[in-house]
């Protein structure tokens, strides 16, 4: 089973790393794919808008108001994006801590996905900062706002990105053909995983805790003292749904990366199948918790209103129904239905995060915040750029394809 040649990608033999990187930087493959045709103009337009944002101020391209100072860029890019990146800590927990080997095939791609999501979505945060040149202040010395939840989230973000980079780094070492680096970096994996899971627990819930002080601003159906717990639990199935969704796309798009297609297809289906059970169970816990919060806070009288119907749509249509679908399709091994359930779950998570951060925030204000088309374009540009980098890495490093032969020997 030792294979040296691959259709597109080749790993370095350990010599002349600089030259190798230069040759790898060149684009490959066809240019005029449908994805490129959509993404390139969007990214260029997004860059133009970002220039305007820095020349004229945030108000020039966003619809933010004095009452709603956080909009789509925080509510969707950061809060929702980070929830979807939760797959990395769940999968590393299952593989490295619980030693569930069957998920091993998806570890690298999930961690890569998580790392890029953090890098880009929190990178997008810099666009939203009014005074970005002071961004290092909470990191260096004398300006520690230690009673701030945001301070905590910022630190946990930065450290977690480091942990994920360490978790992914063996793939980079294999790509560069650096045996020694690979050995050292692999040795750091378990430490990084433990560190990473701890950090994730806190910043996933921390994103919810950011809104704890907005007691009077968020619609009572979405505000409770349990927001941090709800955010944490939902990040588990949000991340796993993303893994299922992303996996089904990656396996089609990057089919040339996979050598033994039949075997890989089978492994992928087993993984998706067993993930559906994890999703179902955590969604059940989440649903129960939401229900308890609802009953405990005596919110029955809020249900018969437009916001109440919207709440029911979220809870029944995009939590309860996909949960039942996950249970059912696990029983019947219906992979297609699992994928549909994953998509419904993802829509539900987007709804939930936006309901807390944008839609339910100042729901009673006279003038509602609606994101401008320019905010949406910048968001899309960020997502597309991330996918570009993702594709670049997948096409070069051993993420979906097998590690080079030397790396598979005893480590």
């Amino acid at each position: 089973m030792t294979s040296q040649t691959f259709p597109i990608a080749k790993d370095n033999d350990g010599k002349s790393i600089g030259k190798f990187i230069l040759s790898e930087l060149k684009p490959r493959g066809k240019w005029l794919t449908p994805f490129n045709i959509i993404s390139i103009p969007t990214i260029l337009l997004g860059i133009g808008l970002i220039v305007i944002r820095y020349v004229q101020g945030l108000g020039a391209i966003t619809n933010l108001t004095q009452e709603v100072p956080w909009g789509l860029w925080i509510g969707f890019d950061v809060v929702t994006g980070v929830a979807f990146a939760g797959g990395a800590y769940v999968v590393t927990f299952m593989v490295y801590i619980l030693n569930m080997r069957r998920y091993h095939s998806i570890v690298r791609v999930t961690v890569l996905n998580g790392f890029l999501a953090y890098a880009f979505y929190t990178g997008a945060l810099l666009l939203d900062l009014g005074r970005p040149w002071n961004v290092v202040n909470p990191m260096i010395g004398n300006n520690f706002g230690t009673s701030s939840v945001l301070f905590l989230v910022a630190w946990h973000f930065v450290l977690y990105m480091l942990a994920e980079l360490i978790e992914f780094s063996p793939a980079i070492a294999e790509w560069l053909g650096s045996r020694k680096a690979k050995r050292i970096l692999s040795g750091m994996t378990i430490g990084a995983v433990i560190f990473g899971i701890t950090l994730s627990t806190l910043h996933q819930s921390g994103l919810g805790a950011l809104y704890l002080m907005c007691k009077d601003k968020i619609h009572p159906l979405w505000y409770s003292e349990f927001i941090p717990v709800l955010f944490f639990v939902s990040s588990i199935f949000a991340g796993l749904s993303m893994v299922i969704f992303e996996g089904s796309i990656s396996h089609k798009v990057f089919a040339d990366q996979i050598e033994d297609k039949e075997k890989s297809h089978k492994t992928q289906n087993t993984v998706v199948h067993s993930l559906s059970k994890v999703c179902a169970v955590t969604m059940f816990a989440y649903f129960c918790l939401q229900f308890l919060v609802f009953i405990h806070a005596k919110r029955w009288d809020l249900i018969n209103s437009p916001m109440g119907y919207w709440f029911l749509t979220e809870m029944i249509g995009f939590v309860f129904i996909p949960m039942v679908m996950f249970f059912y399709s696990y029983r019947t091994s219906n992979i297609k239905m699992i994928r549909i359930a994953a998509i419904l779950t993802m829509i539900g998570v987007v709804m939930n995060r936006l309901n807390v951060t944008v839609i339910g925030f100042r729901w009673d204000a006279a003038v509602h915040y609606v994101p401008s088309w320019m905010e949406i374009v910048v968001t899309l540009a960020v997502i597309f750029t991330e996918i570009w980098i993702f594709r670049w890495v997948i096409n070069r490093m051993p993420v979906l394809r097998e590690s080079p032969a030397w790396a598979k020997e005893k480590h």
């Binding site: 101020g57 108000g59 956080w70 080997r101 900062l129 230690t146 701030s148 378990i190 433990i194 002080m213």
Partner: protein, 291 residues
């Protein structure tokens, strides 16, 4: 075995780091004026004495290099503070006739904005005013999200945006002067002093003419107590003050979460390490079975 030890040390080091980081989170000091040498100061605003002349708006603008306000007060029309106006006067139709109300930063005893600020740019001074320090601020606007009174305003149309809000003329207070609005008020509707004196003064006024006032002081308890204190003839709700706000402080809402952070940071890694050690040999067994 050697790997085990290495991992153990690594985790121990990580715990150490997270403890060092975690420890600092719990300690959010509640601002207290009574025990220290310096007491919190504040301003008592007596709505019954205010004639709505807007002199406070004008002197405020002059003192902080802001454009002179041109809008006049109209009953029923609510104006808000903005990125170019730190203080506004509004007029309300109430059950006790038309009443004027001044709006500006409330200077909470335990401000949500300073608890929210991750760079200590929003800062509760020991004298009482809550001030904004531009050299620290990164413009994240979390203070605006957190403030229950929606006080901090942001210059959305600037490339070097500032957070704009009343700072109780902190620079003037340090020089021993009165805040500009207090000094400029021709009707003595505003009075500057320590918060304790002001509450006493307010009670005295209520006791002296009980029919002229509501028998409570807005700001004495709301949001954990504020530096600006309000007396009014009409119920506070009728003069546009938010009576729905809680009486305990807003930072208290995040305390539970912040206290849980060091515990999770310290306890979770050993737990994970334990599970790892316990399940480590599972796959070896599996592989043996597969072979």
């Amino acid at each position: 075995m050697s790997i085990d030890r290495r991992i153990f040390f690594k985790t121990a080091a990580l715990i150490g780091v997270s403890m060092a980081i975690g420890k600092s989170f719990g300690a959010s000091s509640p601002e207290k004026g009574e025990s220290g040498e310096v007491e919190f100061h504040g301003v008592l605003y007596d709505s019954t004495r205010c004639v709505g002349c807007q002199e406070c708006e004008r002197v405020c603008a002059a003192a902080h290099d802001l454009p002179e306000p041109t809008e006049t007060v109209e009953t029923g029309k609510v104006r808000k503070t903005s990125d170019h106006q730190r203080s506004v006067i509004n007029s309300y139709k109430t059950s006790k006739g038309d009443a004027f109300v001044k709006n500006q930063c409330m200077h909470c005893n335990e401000p949500a904005c300073t608890a929210a600020c991750l760079t200590e740019a929003m800062y509760k001074t020991k004298e009482g005013p809550v001030i904004w320090r531009g050299e620290k601020c990164m413009g994240c606007r979390y203070c605006m999200v957190s403030c229950p009174f929606d006080t901090p305003k942001f210059e959305f149309m600037s490339t070097n945006p500032k957070i704009v809000k009343c700072d109780m003329c902190y620079d003037r207070i340090q020089k021993g002067q009165l805040p500009a609005c207090v000094e400029g008020c021709p009707g003595e509707a505003l009075k500057f002093g320590t918060r304790r004196e002001l509450i006493e003064e307010a009670r005295k006024r209520i006791a002296a003419s009980p029919d002229a006032y509501q028998h409570e002081i807005f700001g004495e308890n709301v949001a954990g107590g504020t530096g600006f204190l309000y007396l009014s003839a009409a119920p506070f709700k009728e003069i546009g003050l938010n009576t729905q706000l809680q009486n305990s402080s807003y930072p208290a809402l995040t305390k539970g979460f912040l206290y849980s952070v060091p515990s999770v940071d310290v306890l979770l890694p050993p737990l994970l390490l334990g599970i790892y050690a316990a399940t480590k040999n599972n796959h070896i067994k599996e592989e043996e079975e597969n072979d």
